[in-house]
């Protein structure tokens, strides 16, 4: 993925690291992160839209727009802006990566 991270962290710069995986790759967030903050601090999207497949990265950040749903590696979905990051969570934001895996 050539996308740049969207969010720029200004505080909690030395907070404890929290490991998670994104499309199978090891990443770290920080204690106190939402799932949205953790993913968008290292990446440029949360999901691809259902109909046109365009990238989405949340919009309202207060649980109203429902644009920030992220798929977990277990196949469930979480609303990234209002879900706290926990250690070893695993997220899929690249559907291409999933279908390639499925074909293998």
């Amino acid at each position: 993925m050539s996308m740049n991270p969207l969010l720029r962290r200004r505080y909690r710069l030395d907070e404890t690291l929290v490991p998670f995986t994104l499309n199978g790759t090891a990443q770290t967030g920080r204690r106190g992160d939402t799932v949205l903050t953790a993913i968008l601090s290292v990446s440029g999207r949360l999901r691809q839209s259902e109909f046109t497949g365009e990238n989405r990265a949340g919009f309202c950040l207060i649980g109203a727009c429902q644009d920030c749903y992220v798929m977990t590696a277990q196949g469930s979905r979480v609303r990234a802006c209002s879900t706290a990051l926990l250690a070893d969570m695993a997220f899929i934001t690249d559907l291409g990566a999933v279908s390639e895996t499925a074909h293998d």
Partner: protein, 467 residues
Amino acid sequence: MTESLQPVIVGAGPAGIRAAERLVRAGLRPIVLDEGQRAGGQIYRRPLIDDGRSYRSRYGSEAGKARRLHEAFEAILPAIDYRPETLVWNVSTPERGNQLDVLLAGVHRQIGFSQLILCTGATDRVLPFPGWTTPGVYTLGASQTALKAQGCTIGDRVVFMGSGPLLYLVAWQYLKAGARVEAVLDTAPVTSKRHLLTLAIHAPRIVALGLSYGLQLQLAGVKIRYGVRPEAVLGTSQVEGLRYRRRTLTGEAVESIACDALAYGFALRPETQLADLAGCRFRFNGRDRVWLPERDALGRTSRSDVYVAGDGSGIAGADASEISGELAAAALLEDTGRALADAAGLVAARKAILRQRDILEQAFPFPDDWLETVPDETTLCRCEEITIAEGRRAIAAGSIVEINRLKALSRVGMGRCQGRMCSAAATELLSGACGTSAGEVGRLRAQAPVKPIPLGFGGSVEAEVRS
């Protein structure tokens, strides 16, 4: 049976906390249901963990109010039944009893109430334009939430656009946080700001703060433009810039500005779905172009056991929300024979704020000509990915004059957000096409669940209910 039920307050922002405090003072033990992880609501939202910032750093000029509200909540916490991370997704109609359907830590529950005080708050009011779904475009409120609650800025080089006092406040907050503010693009004409002179007489503190933000932005070299309409977000997978038009002395100019994030919005829209499901009567508010639950000065609705307070009962801001929360609780206590409301002072204070909002709305007007210049291929509904053209076609083909009909035939407002992000535009689109006023196209009815919820079938399969 109802004797054992307690009053339930939905929401733990300024209105919900003050309502709970008033009930506790009268010896009641209300249940407070909060969708957030920590009480405070959105404007006085707290981070998940302490990040070393002071109240002053986080809440600026409103630090004292934020601290007092949080302390008030901590003080009553032992005396209330507080349930954070709890989504209320349905309210039974009066015929079906006093029940709330809630989702608490992934588990469905029903909670009964003796009376209900709805303090459901507001979300950003937004309108579509080309590129508004691009990663890096956020609402104004979202840009503030990212900083306040997560200590992040939405980018390094940020443009702020829209209409409302929040526009200048957030831009200033980003400047202080070390982001580069590339521009503040006010969609209102510069002439609208003359109303600030009138406002200064009634609310000198608000005007002084606003002028101070504007001045500091200018001193920092931030470009400020008026009468702006966006043409398009530049960049496809991420924001690379914004092209916009603006009114000049001689006509119009088209300009482009590079940025890696854009925050925009046009004041707020109230969250009224639960009052709707509860069967409360609604009335159109012409100033805010929105349907609101009918309420008296204290927050009584048309349903005798349901009260409304805060921005969810009409946008009036945090100060008015604190007052209206206390008023709704006072009304509840009076109606249940516990204490006379004795609320003349608070009612007068709220009225004074509402008068200020009238002037504020003139200084930061809603761009009611917005859709006239937005291209037809622009996404209108970001959930279902319906374009403005598809909306127009549905209106023409079905001779639609009513907003729920438009939803049924075009799916606009039917997606996961239930019209929260598109109903303002859909209303403008339909009233524009019909040549009527926004109030005449009707009210988008709320549907349960008011937000998507997971449904467990047999405990193993997960599905999502949408309406």
